[in-house]
Symmetry: C2
Subunit: 426 residues, 2 copies
């Protein structure tokens, strides 16, 4: 079944606003088998609104419209829908009464303009709004349905849940889209896809077919596995072995199959191994420590971090010998190693991480261009170091360096094969 | 003039992706007088794609389409546009040659499938893509124009800039929307609006009218001033005095009128005053240091930061007396003060910042609930401290605490009246 999501409001067409309602609506519609084929943001203009609604009615089984249900003249969703469907608009006096009550409870008189919110296209069902003044509307047109909801997420979300439970799920006959996400780091997208394609290729022709999408985002690749099934149990029966097969094939580069971000996975590992961590960062400037401490409960394993931007700070805070910096330069594997081991021994933690590099845009040289980052991880008596070349802006280099440091920590704590390939402490 | 922005790709219709390209495109089109009336995200489906393009051609002066220009069969933007406009698609051999070269430079052979990227609807102009394989296309249809661009922002952005400079700006006859943003922190939205409304109310009826929007985002309020004018000079003549009037009225709570984020403003101030800074963070976990070092060139004034999550780290790294923590608790004004002064004296910087608080979701008590954060700033011989109560999730508390620490630093370095109201070091 095909769905269309429309967000109404000129303020959503400025450079400052992103429509996030549609992400929630998509997720909820997917679970009951609707495929979202079109999302649009439309200005408060009755001409454009009617054109877009008319266009969607030509193909969509379900049209969810958010916004434009307020009391002002700018709010014309009701009028546009009534016009497209050729329905008269009547004032529903029971809605007016509820609105008057709502205002009265706050010691206010309902402004006359709010009567507009009680206009109902003939034949529509009214959807109560527990958190605001604008009621929603449910209108059927042939085999298609239109759902009109207010824009504020706090009002829209519970109303959508109610519509799904009471009206849409019963129609969907239990069939829905169920999704799993494998998160991968430390590999190129083409490399992952080359290995994954022969595996997910088979899944498309199963009894419960699974479609696979590969998404590359900064420092991370996601494989989205989507099954259409009659029930969650049926979907799980197809998705569980698929996730396991893919995870086995891709090996330790898969860090999460349950949605957790990398800092959360590393934190859970540290807690599980009863380990503590300390960080010494130069070019990432505290981003690694900040990501580690984004995880609730991280005070269980994060002891401390130091940001040693100046050379003197590297010596003061992580005990890096001045001579070492003079000999190899601040951005070098020996200095990263000394930072990791220095902070580990000073803090008395199990794990120490050292990061030193050139985030840019300035500071690069032909030998050490912008994006050169040396990362060392010390876990108990074992210390390893690697030099990376990251591409992109200053903030992108910082993020990728923190991501790689987290991943090196994960692999070393897990004693996964990968880490043996890095340089050993000499 | 009316514009429509279309993003093509089924992956943009999952619950995981937001279309942010359109924000950039909107901002750039606004400056040359285009009003964006419709934005849509469309699946990789030739039927739906042609329907949406046809619908937009009925009213739009400009249609910008991103995505769907890759080499695979899923990429059907070229085909859809050619079909709607009734144009034949020819392979442009000069594009094929460039593609082959591009692959050869990387030591690879161009896969035959990439020839699809050289398909050009007859009569279209090819837009070079300096950062990728997919060239863009420019097609005129009556008085309307279609611009086809690749989806990756790094490729799309410079290509849009070139189209605007070479093709759209000359047509726009100089009339455009010109915008200024005042960024404000440390005040409530209602409070700012109450003071600002009588001022911006007058602007709406000027010869060059200015419309004003107030946007509250986490830890920050933005006032957007938009003028429609025939030229930048005409807009500046209206906007310059307006910005000045508003800035004067709102006082030092306005930290930026030129787009710079708060960490950049603070960094520029430190450089201007030839000051250096060191930070000691507990609940923000390195976020303050990370934001300070997001600014290019921040190594000029950032000396070091410490993240002292454990009590022992507070003593080791910032010299906070154990007895002080035992007496007042780790989250207290005396400990924040000791952290700020301790890190300042150890680092030998002009400025020291200390932050200690409860980011949550655990760790709150009736006396010190989640969101309680004590922040101290030491500037040369002057030290001040304030306790804040922030609302929201762990990450929201961290962000607001870092924001407040930056703002306290700004006001103290500027010696603005506000800071005298905070508690003095005793």
């Amino acid at each position: 079944m095909k769905a269309c999501i429309l967000a109404i409001g000129s303020e959503m067409l400025t450079p400052f606003r992103v429509d996030t309602n549609s992400l929630f609506i998509t997720e909820r519609l997917n679970t009951i088998g609707y495929d979202v084929r079109l999302k649009a943001v439309v200005a408060d203009d009755i001409g454009e609104l009617t054109r877009v609604i008319e266009g969607a009615l030509a193909w969509a089984d379900l049209i969810v419209i958010t916004g434009g249900l307020g009391p002002t003249e700018d709010d014309m969703t009701r009028d546009a829908v009534a016009r497209v469907l050729g329905l008269a608009l009547d004032v529903d006096e029971s809605i007016v009464d509820r609105l008057r009550d709502r205002f009265a409870r706050r010691g206010m008189t309902m402004p006359e303009i709010n009567r507009r919110q009680a206009m109902v296209p003939r034949g529509a069902a009214v959807l109560p709004n527990p958190n605001g003044t604008a009621p929603g509307l449910w209108i059927e047109k042939g085999s298609a349905a239109l759902v009109l909801l207010p824009g504020p997420p706090r009002e829209m979300k519970p109303m959508l849940e109610a519509v799904i439970a009471e009206r849409l799920a019963p129609k969907s006959k239990g069939s829905g889209l169920f999704r799993r996400v494998l998160k991968i780091t430390g590999r190129a997208e083409s490399d992952v896809d080359a290995q994954a394609a022969p595996i997910y290729g088979k899944w498309a022709s199963q009894t419960v077919p699974i479609s696979t999408t590969i998404l590359a985002v900064l420092g991370q690749i996601e494989l989205h596995l989507t099954a259409r099934a009659a029930s969650k149990a049926e979907a799980d029966a197809a998705l569980d072995p698929a996730v396991l097969e893919m995870q086995t094939a891709l090996g330790p580069s898969v860090y999460s199959v349950d949605g957790r971000p990398l800092e959360h996975v590393v934190g859970d590992l540290l807690r599980e191994h009863r380990m503590t961590i300390a960080t010494a960062e130069s070019c990432t400037g505290g981003l690694l420590a900040s990501r580690l401490t984004d995880v609730p409960g991280s005070s269980d394993y994060v002891d401390r971090g130091v940001v040693c931007y100046s050379n003197r700070a590297k010596t003061d805070l992580a005990g890096v010998a001045e001579a070492l910096i003079a000999e190899h330069g601040a951005v070098s594997e020996p200095v990263a190693l000394a930072m990791a081991e220095g902070i580990r021994s000073r803090a008395g933690t199990n794990v120490g991480v050292g990061i030193t590099g050139i985030a840019g845009p300035g500071g690069g040289t032909p030998e050490k261009p912008v994006g050169t980052v040396a990362i060392a991880v010390a876990v108990d008596e074992e210390t390893r170091v690697r030099t990376f070349q990251f591409l992109g802006s200053r903030e992108m280099v910082k993020f990728q360096a923190a991501q790689s440091a987290l991943n090196m920590t994960r692999l070393m704590v897990l004693r996964q094969p990968g880490w043996r390939e890095w340089s050993e402490r000499r």
